[in-house]
Subunit: 406 residues, 2 copies
Amino acid sequence: MSLIVEKFGGTSVGTVERINAVADKLIKKHEAGEKLVVVVSAMSGETNRLITLANEISDAPPAREMDVLVSTGEQVTIALLSMALQKRGNDARSYTGGQVTIRTDNVHSKARILDIDDDKIISDLDQGRIVVVAGFQGIDNSGNITTLGRGGSDTTAVAVAAAIKADECRIYTDVDGIYTTDPRVVPEAKRLDTITAEEMLELASLGAKVLQTRSVEFAGKYKVPLRVLSSFEDGVGTLITYEEEGSSMEAPLISGIAFQRDEAKLTIRGIPDHPGVAHQVLGPISDAHINVDVIIQNASAKGLTDLTFTVPRADYQPCMELLHGMVDTLGAKDVKGDDKIAKVSIVGVGMRSHTGVANTMFKTLADNDINIQMISTSEIKISVIVDESKLEQAVKELHKAFELDL
Amino acid sequence: MSLIVEKFGGTSVGTVERINAVADKLIKKHEAGEKLVVVVSAMSGETNRLITLANEISDAPPAREMDVLVSTGEQVTIALLSMALQKRGNDARSYTGGQVTIRTDNVHSKARILDIDDDKIISDLDQGRIVVVAGFQGIDNSGNITTLGRGGSDTTAVAVAAAIKADECRIYTDVDGIYTTDPRVVPEAKRLDTITAEEMLELASLGAKVLQTRSVEFAGKYKVPLRVLSSFEDGVGTLITYEEEGSSMEAPLISGIAFQRDEAKLTIRGIPDHPGVAHQVLGPISDAHINVDVIIQNASAKGLTDLTFTVPRADYQPCMELLHGMVDTLGAKDVKGDDKIAKVSIVGVGMRSHTGVANTMFKTLADNDINIQMISTSEIKISVIVDESKLEQAVKELHKAFELDL
C-alpha cells in the first residue's frame, strides 16, 4: 500500500466546486489503495482578503499578528475539504500546522520547519483516514503561530512527506509537468518524465518557476520523490529524482533550456587591478538591493581589469548611476552598458560526464549568427548572454540541436 | 492597579472602523492604569459566512470540522485588534483558545471549559501588554479545536476573569445595562445599577436575553463581578452581584419584570390519577423536542386529575396532536388549549424575606381586571399566565405597583 502526500494550491481549492472535485479524486485514489495525506493552501483570494484587512488597520502590521491572521486561510480549507471527504464516506481529519505538530523557528512570515511530529498522521492513516494538513503554517517553541512565507505549502508537503517517509509527494499546479523549455517559445517543447533535483533547481532559478526553490532543496535533502502534475488534467506529470553515484552516465546530455528576458548588462572598464576590486564595485550595488546575476571579470592589458555583470532591466538606470559615481574613486576608464540583452541557459546533469556540450552550444549559436556577449558556467549549466532580439531564435535552435524535441 | 477582562461581541468589532474604536478605548483605559485582557467574538457576519460555506459542502458537516472552520472567525478578530493596539503603541498579544490554553471537554460545538492555563496572560500583563483572547473556542485534551456554542464568548470572558482573578469582567453589548423591564413596553423602565446573579438568571431565562445564561452561572460559581455595558455609549451599565448571607434583608422587594410573548397552553383533563401520569403525558412531548415551560397538575374530583402546561406558540399544533393521540390510552376526558396567552414574571431576591409580594401582584392584576390563568412560583420569582391582550397592561401596572419607576 503506497503512502502518498498530495498538495493542492489555492487555485485548486478556490471554490466549493473545486474542493468537491479534489475530494472526488482523493476518494478514488484512496479506494485504489493509496494512503493519503493532503496538504492544502488557502482558497485563492483569501490570503489577499486578509492582508487587505490588516493593511486597513495598520500600514506596518506586526509579523506575529499577520501570521495569526493569514493562517486562518488554510484552516478554512482543511475544514471544508475534510467535510467534503467525510460526506463521501471517509472519516477524514484536518490538522492545522500547530496541531500536526509542524515545529518551526520563530521567524514570523518566513519561518523554517525544524521538525514534524507525525504521531497523529500515522495513527489516522492506520485507521483508514485521509489526513488533511494546513500548508504554509507551523508553530514555534513558545506556541506562537508561524507561517513559512508565500508558496510555503509546497515546503509543508515535502516536509510531511519526509517525516512520514512517503513513497511520493505530488504537487498539483497549473502546468502538467516540467518542459524542456517554454512551449510558448518552442511549440515542440516536450514534457520531461523525470528531471533531477539539481536540474530542477537550475531551471527554477532561471525562470521555470513551477515549484518553490526551497521545497525542491528540502526534497533533495531528504530524497523525497517529488512529482509535479496538473490540478485540472489527468497525466503523470514530471518526477523529480535524485542522482545516485554513477547514474549520470545514462542521463541525457541536457534536460532543458531556460531563459530570462528583461536583463541588462553593465561594464566598468580599465580599473587598476588589485585585490578587492569586485567587492568595491559590487558592494554598493548589493547595498542598493539590486540583484546581480552573471558576473565576469577579465584582466586586460597593463594591470587593468574590466568587470561586467548583469542585473534585471528595471535596475539598469540606478545601477548605471552608481557605477558612474565610482569611476573617479576607482581610477577606472569608463562605464558601458546595454539594456537590451537576454540570458539563455542549457541545463543537464549529463554535461558533467560529456565533453562537447559547450561546444555544441557555441557552434549552434555561431551557425545561426547569434553573437555571444557573455558566458557563465556551472557544473550542470551553461548560460550565455545574447542580444534580446536573438533570444527566441537561440532557444529554438538549441532545442533542436540538443534533440529535445525528439 | 485593577485587573479587568473586557468582552466585545461581533457587532462591536464588525468593521475595521469599529475595531479601531475599540482599540482607542482600550488604550485610554490602559493609560488610566487598568491591566486589560480583551475577549472578542468573530466580526459580525463572519461566522454565518463560514457556516454557509460548510453547508455548501455538506448538509450535515461533522462537528469537529465545523469547529476548525468557525474558530477562524475569532482568530481573525484577535489578530486585527492586536494590530490596532500595536499601532497605538501597546505591544499587545493575541491568543487563540488553544494557545491560552483554554482546555475544554471534547463535545464539539458546545464544549464546556475545564480549566484555563493563565501563565501567558499573567506574564504578558506583567510586561504591560494588553492581552487579546479569542472567545468562543478552546482545545480538548487531544489537541482538537472546540467551540463553546453560540454566545460562548461571554463564557470565555467570565472563565478568563475567574482564572486570573480579575477585579471585574465587563461585557459590552447593544444595551446599556439591565432594565427593570423592557423600555419598549414601559417607557419608565429604569436601568438597574446592580442586580444579583440569581435575579439575572431568572430574568435571562424569562426573555431578558442580554447575557448567556451559562456565562452568568459561571460568573456566579466563581463570584466574578460581572458588568453589562453598552459598546456604543458611555455609562456604568449594570453590575451583577453575588448575594452574601443576610444581605437580602436590604435588597429591594423585586428587581424586574420579565415577560414572554407567543406562548400557548394545553390542558388534558380527567385523566385517571395514578403515579406516572405527568411522565406519560410529557415524555412524548419532550421526545418531540418541544420545550415545556410552566407545568401545573391538579387533582380534580373522583380520582381524576388535570394537567396543564405551556409551550412556545410555534409548537402548539404538533403538541395538540400529540395530546389528542393520548386521550384513549390514558382514559382521559378531553383536551383543551389556548394559543393566545403570555407570561409575566416578577423577579427579586427580596421576596424571600418579605411576605405579601405575591399578594401585591395578584391584587394589582385583579384591580385591573386581568384574569390569572396559571400561577407558577420559585424562590425568587412569581410567574403568571394571562391572556396575551392583557400582557402590556399587566407589565405596566406591576412596574408601577412595585415602584420600579421611582
